[in-house]
């Protein structure tokens, strides 16, 4: 009995020693795991997987775990997880949500030693400065989006137009030339799509108002400033598109502007870079892209929006350090080029965007060149602020309302939304 017990005991001791040694070794080589959250979109997931792989190869002591879920659940999940100490260390969020995330203490400022303000200011396209507060940035984008003019090559050719319009006057003339009417005068093909519910409210706000000599907002987007002569001119230009003979457009044509363009029933269409992928899949549609037309005095403007990456308040200690490293990587030139190639979203830095190859790319080029003069509206509630402009145009188009009065009402309504959000 005793003889047999001793080896048993020895074995047990040995085993225990071995496991504790293994445990010690394990914790010495133990990798920090950080969580990255984004919403579900195939190409974005694929791009991020590649980025994580490259990052982990360069930083063997850090592992990044990506979680993604549908856009609709995004906000609620993040909001529930972070305060509970769960969820992401690095999170992707829409730039327009930044204030809510900051106020709710869900994210922390990026450390100024790694992301110094003056360097970021210099390296990124100017509209990224909307993410800056005082001596630090709250968040940074890997990729950005801007607007451009898509055109249908076949319809252009039919109408005898050899180059996409470069100015607003040329835009109207080209659109009128491409519009087709049936015997009863119903529009069957529009020269230019129009619909405030798509991207046109951005075009009106940040592009047309500026091109007519105005400034849509003052005091860091806290004061609505388009109820002016410039604003009235911009609105008249926009609603006037439907009233020429022949009209340049028809509001509500084929339900959605992008649907009309996809169906080959629209000569030109203003939309964001995120539309490229969907249009590339349409067989038989030959399209090109041009920069947005310049204003009467040559003013160029554009609107840019983006998703940003930020470090949450959950990340502390070594996880924070790892998160900073990961942030550095996903806003690097290499990451931006990969994101452009895989997702088709535009680089956020001129050093990547304005390379010979990217800036002259026939599809991405016009969008990227637009970033140099793009503005980013600091929305407090994008959908509500959009609705104000949608209703303004509806009042004029559907109810024959007075444009100047509709503009004043819209400006007052939007100011109220901004004030209420304070």
């Amino acid at each position: 009995m005793t003889i047999r017990r001793i080896p048993g005991l020895a074995r047990a001791t040995l085993f225990a020693t071995a496991t504790s040694v293994a445990g010690l070794l394990g914790s010495a080589a133990h990798a920090v795991e950080i969580q990255y959250w984004q919403y579900f979109f195939d190409a974005r997931i694929a791009a991020m997987e590649q980025l994580i792989e490259k990052f982990e190869a360069a930083n063997p002591d850090i592992t990044v775990k990506m979680t993604h879920f549908p856009y609709a659940d995004y906000r609620t999940k993040v909001a529930a997880a972070v305060p509970a100490g769960e969820g992401p260390d690095v999170v992707q969020l829409f730039y327009g949500w930044l204030n809510d995330y900051v106020d709710a203490k869900l994210i922390q400022p990026l450390p100024a030693d790694v992301f110094p303000v003056d360097r970021i200011d210099a390296e990124f396209f100017p509209m990224v400065q909307a993410m800056k507060e005082g001596d630090s940035y709250w968040a940074l984008p890997t990729a950005v989006r801007s607007l451009a003019l898509f055109y249908n090559e076949r319809l252009m050719e039919e109408a005898g137009i050899d180059a996409p319009p470069a100015t607003l006057d040329e835009l109207v003339a080209a659109a009128q030339a491409m519009t087709k009417l049936d015997g009863a005068g119903n529009v069957t093909t529009v020269g230019l799509t129009a619909g405030m519910t798509a991207q046109d409210h951005h075009w009106l706000r940040e592009v047309l108002v500026r091109q007519m000599g105005g400034e849509p907002y003052l005091d860091d987007y806290t004061k609505v400033n388009y109820d002016t002569e410039a604003g009235r001119k911009a609105l008249d230009f926009y609603t006037g598109l439907a009233s020429g003979t022949p009209p340049a457009t028809s509001f509500g044509f084929m339900d959605e502007p992008q649907a009309a363009f996809k169906a080959g029933r629209a000569g030109m269409h203003i939309d964001g870079s995120f539309r490229i992928g969907a249009l590339a899949e349409i067989r038989g549609l030959k399209w090109g892209v041009a920069e947005l037309p310049a204003g009467p005095d040559g003013t160029k403007s554009n609107y840019s929006s983006y998703w940003v990456n930020a470090i949450t308040t959950k990340a502390e200690g070594e996880k924070f350090d790892a998160s900073v490293k990961f942030m550095e990587y996903i806003v690097s030139d290499e990451a931006m080029q990969l994101w452009l190639d895989v997702v088709g979203e535009l680089p956020a830095k001129p050093s990547v965007g304005m390379t010979e190859k990217n800036a002259n790319d026939p599809v991405f080029g016009p969008f990227i060149r637009g970033l140099e003069y793009a503005h980013t509206t600091k929305f407090v509630n994008e959908s509500a602020q959009r609705d104000v402009l949608v209703q303004m145009v509806d009042k004029i188009i559907l109810e024959g309302g007075d444009p100047a009065a509709a503009l004043s009402e819209a400006a007052a309504a939007e100011q109220k939304i901004i004030d209420d959000a304070k």
Partner: protein, 295 residues
């Protein structure tokens, strides 16, 4: 302990044992969220930060919001047009279908089919029907016979009835089935007696059929009223670009709640609207039960 109980007490223990599950379910899934929603309506909360007390602010804001009154009126338009119209149509169809023997089952299936169809799919198909030329079915038909275009959805006056039409159509199948069950439950002998007395069909309908259908009618009225007061899928899907538009002319209360909660993230204000909707549903249902029940 259990052994010392009387049979009656044991029965009560068992009854509650079985009831515990639904009671627990309702408490967790229904009553707790309802109570919480009422609580949130007195608070400000954007889903992200902490909740702060707002007192009656959300209700005062609601009272002074012109959009709310517009939406409130729309909601009652859906109810006041939708309920009587669907009741009338479904009764006429059920009455005639009941007397029909030829292809009865097939026709009943045809009427019931829309009820089983996804509201989202149906709304999108109708949305395309309503488009102007060159895409819209209705306007293309009009154009082919030389009649001018009708702006169905792109009009502040036509949009609400245009959205209501498929919603009524979708609910018909269910109401027809209920009506037919009600008609079948009326004893044949009443009709035979009436016919022997030489009474006309109108009198039979008015004096026998309708009075005996009263419980059925009460059920359908209450049920469809709640449905129209809570209309959402059809409106949302037919106006996704500009939900509830143009100019809020089709926006029902549920859509306003959805917008406030999940685009504006103003949970307190949305909860206040929910409490109002809950109250409206409660009052309308109680009033209808009251009016239609006693003679």
């Amino acid at each position: 302990m259990y052994k010392s109980l009387t049979i009656r007490q044991k029965q009560i223990v068992w009854a509650w044992g079985f009831l515990a599950l639904p009671v627990l379910f309702y408490t967790v899934i229904r009553f707790y969220p309802t109570g919480n929603a009422i609580l949130i309506s007195f608070q400000n909360w954007n889903l992200l930060g902490t909740r702060t007390w707002a007192g009656f602010d959300n209700y005062i804001k609601l009272f002074n919001d012109p959009v709310f009154w517009k939406v409130f009126a729309n909601t009652f338009k859906y109810l006041l047009i939708g309920t009587p119209l669907s009741l009338l149509i479904s009764f006429i169809i059920a009455y005639h279908l009941d007397q029909l023997r030829f292809m009865h089952g097939f026709l009943r299936m045809l009427y019931f089919l829309p009820f089983m169809t996804s509201a989202v799919a149906m709304a999108w198909v109708w949305r395309w029907f309503y488009q102007p030329v060159p895409t819209g079915l209705f306007n293309n038909l009009l154009a082919s016979v030389g009649i001018g275009q009708i702006a169905f959805l792109n009009s502040t006056t036509n949009a609400l009835p245009a959205i209501l039409a498929p919603a009524i159509w979708a609910g018909l199948g269910f109401q027809i089935i209920i009506f037919m069950a009600g008609l079948r439950s009326i004893p044949k002998s009443y009709y035979e007696a009436a016919r022997i007395d030489g009474v006309g069909w109108w009198t039979i309908l008015w004096e026998i059929t309708l009075p005996l259908l009263k419980p059925t009618i009460v059920f359908i009225v209450v049920f469809s009223s709640i449905g129209f007061l809570r209309i959402f899928d059809h409106v949302f899907n037919m106006t996704t670009n500009n939900p509830g538009g143009p100019l809020n002319s089709t926006k029902p209360l549920v859509l306003m709640i959805y917008d406030t909660a999940f685009s504006s993230f103003d949970m307190g204000y949305a909860a206040a609207q929910t409490v109002v909707l809950f109250t409206v549903l409660l009052v309308v249902s109680l009033v209808q039960l009251r009016i239609l029940r006693d003679k």
